[in-house]
Every structure is written in C-alpha cells, then in structure tokens.
Amino acid sequence: MLRTAWLIARKDLRGEVRSRGVTNQVLPFAGVTMIIFGFALDANTDVLELVAPGLVWLATMFSLLLLVQRTFDVESADGALDAMRVAGGDARASFLGMAIGRAVQRFVPESLLLLAAVVLYAETIPLDGAVLLVTTLISATCGLTAVGTLYGGLAAGSKGRETLLPLLTLPAVAPVLIGATRAVESALGTGTATSSDGWQWVGLLTVFAVAFGVGGALAFGPLIDE
C-alpha cells in the first residue's frame, strides 16, 4: 500500500513540476490575498501584526481550495481517477498518495505566506518559536490536505463542485484554522501568547490530521468506487 501511495504522490508531484500550477496560480493568489487583507485593515501595522497568524491561515485555506480544485479538475479531465480504479489499486493508497502529494505542494505557499507576514505585517520569528512553527506547519498541513483530498474526491467531476468544495471543506477545517492560528501566535509571541501554550494546539492539530487521514483513507474507496 505504501509503495502505491508513494507512486501516486510522485506522479502528482511530477505533474505539478511540469504544469507549474502552484507557481503560476496558487502562489500569486496567496500573495494577492495577503495584500488585500492589508488594504481591508487600512494598512494598520499594529493591527496587522496582531492578526497576522489568522490571516496567514485564512490565505492558506483559500489557496488550499484552489489547489484541490485544480488538481482534481486535472485528474477528472484526464480520467486519472477512473484509470486508478481500473488498475485495481488500493483506494486507501490512492488517498494517502494524493494527500501526501498535495501536502508537499502546500509547504511552498505556506512558507511563503509566513515570509509575506514577516515582510508585509512586520512580524518577527523568535528563535525559540521556530520549532513550534515548523511543527504547526506540518501538522496543520497534513490535516488540511486530508480534508481537501477527501472532499475534493467527493466533489470531483460533479456539477457545482466550485461552490460545493468550499461549503464542505471550510466548516470541516475550522478546528485547524483555530488551532493553527493559536499555535502560530504562540510561536511568534503575538500578544501575551507564549511558546509553551502552542504545543497543546499542535496536539489538537495532530489528532485532527490522524483522524481525517485514517477516516479519509477508509472512506475514499466507497466515494470513488461508483
């Protein structure tokens, strides 16, 4: 199963490198979102510094929707999902492979969003918060991509998927938004948050990622086996 998952993840990443979807679409979208947030909050640096962790994860969620939509559109158009079913591959492995592929693709925009927060919103990253920041990034990304892959697979190829995907995904990832925002606040030392507070939220993010990873792997088969 792991070998199949690895093959699928590699296929997705190779496709991404060739099509440059993240570079050409997802990254500019995430960047524009961060700038627009600045306009909406009247470019008030004090406010932006305070709300930066939340804005980073909001931009992450919006760009996740774009990424999931785009990758599943490509797979639906090429009949890749049907081909995987015909090939008789394990649906759990397909799910894991897709989720891993998307998670790797997410790390680039997320790192750049954090960088954008440093540049645009005058955030500083203390050295003792760096480990917490990286751990938060990994655990939150795994949770987000597990949800995105599950619901993306469900909505793939159906009419109205553009509206259905956010409707399903955004409420489901609300715990990640809360947990990741609080953990990043702790890592950056925003307000009165301390680094030790953040690890509780990382625990929540990890539980969420494992629950949706396992649940998604089990549910993916019935969803695409139609």
Binding site: L150, L154, A155, S158, K159, G160, T163, L164, L167, L168, L170, P171, A172, A174, P175, G215, A219, P222, L223, D225, E226
Partner: protein
C-alpha cells in the same frame, strides 16, 4: 423502510398501477395519529410557555423562549444522530438499502430546520438578555458550524448521479459531521464561553432549572420529538416517491398520457 421502494415495484409494468402508485399520499393511519398527538403536545407547550411559566428573576419574559430553544436543539442533535446511524447502516450492511439513505436525508433536512430555529430563537433570546443578537461565543459559533456543515451535507445529496452514488457520498459526510455534536455540546466547558453550561443534559444528571420550567421544557421536548417523527416519516415517503419518479418517470408519463387518451377516446352515454 418504505412500501414505495422502487426495487419493490420493478416487476410491475402496468401503467395504471404506476399512476395509482404515484397518486398515493405519504400519509397513513399511523402518521395521522402522530400528527394529532403532535398538535396536542404543541398546544400543551404553548400553554406552559404563556400560562404556567412566569418571568424569570434575571431573564424576565425571555425565559419563555427556552421552551422552544432547548427542545429544538435536542431534536437537531437527535436528527443528526439518526442521520449518522442510518448512513452507517446503509454503508456497512450488505443490502445497501436506499431506505436507510432516505431516512438519513430526511432526518438531516429536519435537523437543519431545527438548528436554524435554535439559532434564530437563541439570537432573539440573546438580544433580550445579553443586549446583542450574536456573540462570537464558542457554543454559538460551533452551532453555526453544525448548521453550515449539514447544509453542505444536503448539497452533496443534490449532486448529480445515481441514488446509490448519492447514498455513498452523503453517508460518508453524515458519519463525519456527527462528530461535531459533542464539540457543540461541550464547547461551553472546553472554551469557558459566555453561554451557560448544559442545563439538563449535564454530566452530574442534576438539572439546574426551576421545576415548572423543567416540566415545560420536557413537554416541549416531547412535542418537538413527535413533530420530528411526523416530518421524517412524511419526508422519507416523499423521497421514495421522488426516487420512483426519477427511476420510472418516463414510464409514468407514458402511462398517464395513455390513460388520458383512453379517457378521451371512450364514448360517453350521451354520445351513444
């Protein structure tokens, strides 16, 4: 699950039977009895709200809203639990009966209406007691999250595809979404929110509420639960008819046209 399961009628091709089947109403003697009981229980709830329950020391007249607010959220929890159980039964049994899927869908539809009612009544109560319609409080926010999650569930049910595709897709969502209920219920403890802690369904099983009001709430719970059963029974049967129409819509239309043509061509007594 229902007498109108398309599978049950697959062998019957007679147009007249189809027309007769389609003209059946979703009402039965049982649903009529439940309907009457619901109306009586609702009347008792109103009586309790406006006659027996007096104004509260702190909440004033707004306390009467509790006789709707608590029963509606109870029914919403019940609805979504039934949705999850029915979804699980559809997904994990070999027969994959669509009756369970329809029960899940009907229950979720009713649940969404009741969560919506809870939010509206809660907002009215909040305006009277807290001075604002909405607070970014953990209980309110997670309830709103529950509401939009099940709107998503209903949207999935409307996706194009076969009945079994619908059942599988929505079944998975139904099983995932129910996990929100414990989060909503215990959110006041987890986040120490503005909303008071559980009044009746508390872990120490000691209802922290006035006796008259508690009785009124229990009458309300019975009334709204009966309403739930009545609505779900009707909706499940209507869904079965919709599925039947989807499956055999063309046969039905042809049969109706033939029936009309036969009536028009038949000579009447005056013509003879």
């Amino acid at each position: 699950m229902t007498t109108l399961d398309p599978a049950d009628t697959s062998s019957n091709d007679a147009g007249d039977d189809l027309v007769a089947e389609a003209r059946r109403t979703p009402a039965t003697k049982a649903t009529r009895t439940i309907g009457i009981l619901t109306a009586v229980a609702m009347a008792f709830t109103l009586l309790w709200a406006f006659v027996f329950t007096g104004p509260d020391v702190n909440q004033g007249e707004s306390v009467r809203l509790m006789l709707i607010h608590l029963p509606t959220i109870w029914v919403a929890y019940l609805s979504f639990t039934v949705t999850a159980l029915a979804s699980g039964t559809y997904l994990f049994t070999k027969k994959h009966s669509l009756g369970w899927d329809r029960l899940a869908g009907a229950s979720a539809e009713v649940g969404v209406i009741f969560v919506g009612l809870t939010l509206i009544v809660g907002a009215l109560w909040g305006r009277l007691t807290w001075g604002v319609f909405w607070q970014w409080d953990a209980r309110l926010t997670t309830t709103a999250l529950l509401f939009v999650t099940y709107i998503g569930y209903l949207a999935v049910r409307r996706l194009d595809g076969s009945h079994h595709q619908r059942a599988k897709r929505s079944g998975v969502i139904g099983l995932i979404a129910v996990l929100l209920i414990p989060l909503v219920h215990w959110s006041v403890r987890i986040w120490r929110s503005l909303h008071q802690e559980a009044t009746i369904l508390d872990t120490d099983l000691d209802a922290d509420i006035d006796g008259i009001l508690l009785t009124g709430v229990l009458v309300g719970v019975i009334a709204f639960s009966l309403l739930y059963v009545w609505l779900v029974l009707h909706r499940t049967r209507v869904m079965a008819m919709e599925d039947l129409l989807d499956d055999r819509g063309l046969d039905l239309a042809l049969a109706e046209r033939r029936a009309e043509a036969g009536t028009a061509a038949r000579p009447t007594g005056e013509d003879a």
